[in-house]
Symmetry: C2
Subunit: 119 residues, 2 copies
């Protein structure tokens, strides 16, 4: 009972807009994209994303992730939730363990928006 996140499908969210350098974002577009960047804009969450995304099999168990940090288990759980709520991580429970997988499409689209690449 804390849906609280009307954030659309992250891919759709970010696929909304032309690259930053192409044309100005509208206020609405900016409001949709900013939460994704906010979710990424933390050192711990950046590392979590890279750990999951680069992990063998494309997924990582929370148990693996906890050990990679000097932070409490609830704190890691919190960060994973933030990334998941933003649509950047997918969650799958298997037995007692929970596996997270990077939503690579969202990352790619986000990169396309930031990058001046498209020229």
């Amino acid at each position: 009972m804390s849906k609280s996140l009307p954030v659309l499908d992250p891919v759709a969210t970010v696929a909304c807009c032309a690259p930053l350098a192409r044309e100005p974002l509208t206020a609405g577009q900016a409001d949709q994209v900013a939460p994704l960047l906010k979710a990424l804009a933390d050192p711990v969450r950046l590392r979590l994303m890279s750990l999951v995304a680069s992990h063998e099999g494309g997924e990582a168990c929370v148990c693996d992730l906890n050990d990679a940090f000097d932070l409490s288990q609830p704190t890691i759980s919190h960060h994973l939730k933030v990334l998941h709520d933003a649509g950047l991580l997918e969650r799958e429970k298997r037995g007692v363990w929970v596996y997270y997988r990077a939503h690579t499409e969202a990352l790619t689209t986000l990169a396309a928006l930031i990058g001046t690449t498209a020229r």
Copy 2:
């Protein structure tokens, strides 16, 4: 007296790392990259970046930017400072006016880090 930002050259900062999905960021790398994302992770600053980056001539005067928002002039000035301190905007004073220009190289490199692109 508020240098307070030992953030390296933003390009070097971000060029430090392989794409997220390639290999895990170190704590140090994450600490370097996160501030750049944090600077971008605000709706107003996203719009400012896109306004500047997509503006004719590649630069925009603060006077133009103020008019695009329903925010006070100090608030816009604050956001521009955040983007400038992060190394995402370059500042140039010409006469009474101040022009900002997007550091496109930083954006491109940042996008390359986020994107799963490199495959």
